[in-house]
């Protein structure tokens, strides 16, 4: 985690609905790149089965979905120094976080070489925005 490398991030985002339809989220992150099964059980429960490594398991207590994502990004921050948590209470120090892409960047992008004139470009924008 102290250098940039390919890896696998088993991350679970779990919404829990109360009777009044309010929702609280928590997150789970199992920092382990060994082969593993992750099974959702009917209890409900989650079972992690891995063939090796250490149990380096994070619980993000939320309670909003934004909180959980922030807490997760704190952990995976590039160059971060992670202090392992005890009793599932998360304590961590982070020097630098990865850059989040802007939301709009995940939208649809229109591009081509050869619009040639601004009228063609305007036509493309017009037919795609109606």
């Amino acid at each position: 985690m102290n250098f940039i490398h390919l890896g696998v991030h088993p991350f679970l985002l779990n919404p829990e609905f109360a009777q009044n339809q309010s929702v609280q989220f928590h997150g789970q992150f199992f920092l382990n790149s060994n082969a593993m099964d992750v099974d959702l059980q009917p209890l409900p429960a989650v079972t992690y089965t891995t063939i090796g490594g250490i149990i380096d398991f994070y619980l993000f207590t939320g309670p909003t979905v934004q909180n959980v994502i922030e807490q997760y990004w704190d952990v995976i921050g590039v160059g971060s120094r992670i202090k392992i948590n005890y009793n599932f209470i998360l304590v961590l120090f982070c020097l630098q976080k990865p850059t989040m892409p802007p939301y709009w960047a995940l939208g649809f992008h229109l591009c081509r070489y050869g619009y040639n004139t601004i009228d063609n470009l305007k036509d493309v924008i017009r037919v795609n925005t109606r």
Partner: protein, 112 residues
């Protein structure tokens, strides 16, 4: 797409929009008033991406092409080994070892 709530968020233009293929320019004949079209897009909540190429033309009339003149002033182009002399070519490339290039690109759009 707007009617269908489809997230058409970004419009790009490629290098055919440039004037004579020069970075940070647009063809004022074929793409007249491009900036106002972009502002209109932005006013409608869309974003615009302008494609540029890494080479900055070094063969324009001196004083006529701001990106080259400014790049020379700031010393961001690749130089010969152990020398202040630029590598000679029709374009100058920004030196990847020069951290100043990172701030070179962004302000250029203010000049267009």
């Amino acid at each position: 797409m707007d009617a269908a709530d489809f997230p058409y968020d970004v419009q790009w233009t490629d290098i055919d929009v440039m004037s004579s293929g020069l970075d940070y320019t647009y063809d004022e004949k074929n793409f007249a008033n491009l900036p106002s079209l972009i502002r209109q897009l932005q006013a409608n909540g869309k974003h615009y991406v302008n494609i540029i190429d890494p080479g900055i033309s070094s063969v324009q009339t001196p004083g006529s092409y701001f990106p080259f003149d400014e790049g020379v002033n700031r010393g961001v182009f690749i130089r010969k080994f152990n020398s202040t002399e630029f590598i000679i070519g029709k374009v100058e490339s920004l030196s990847l070892l020069n951290s100043r290039k990172h701030c070179f690109f962004l302000p250029r759009f203010g000049q267009v």
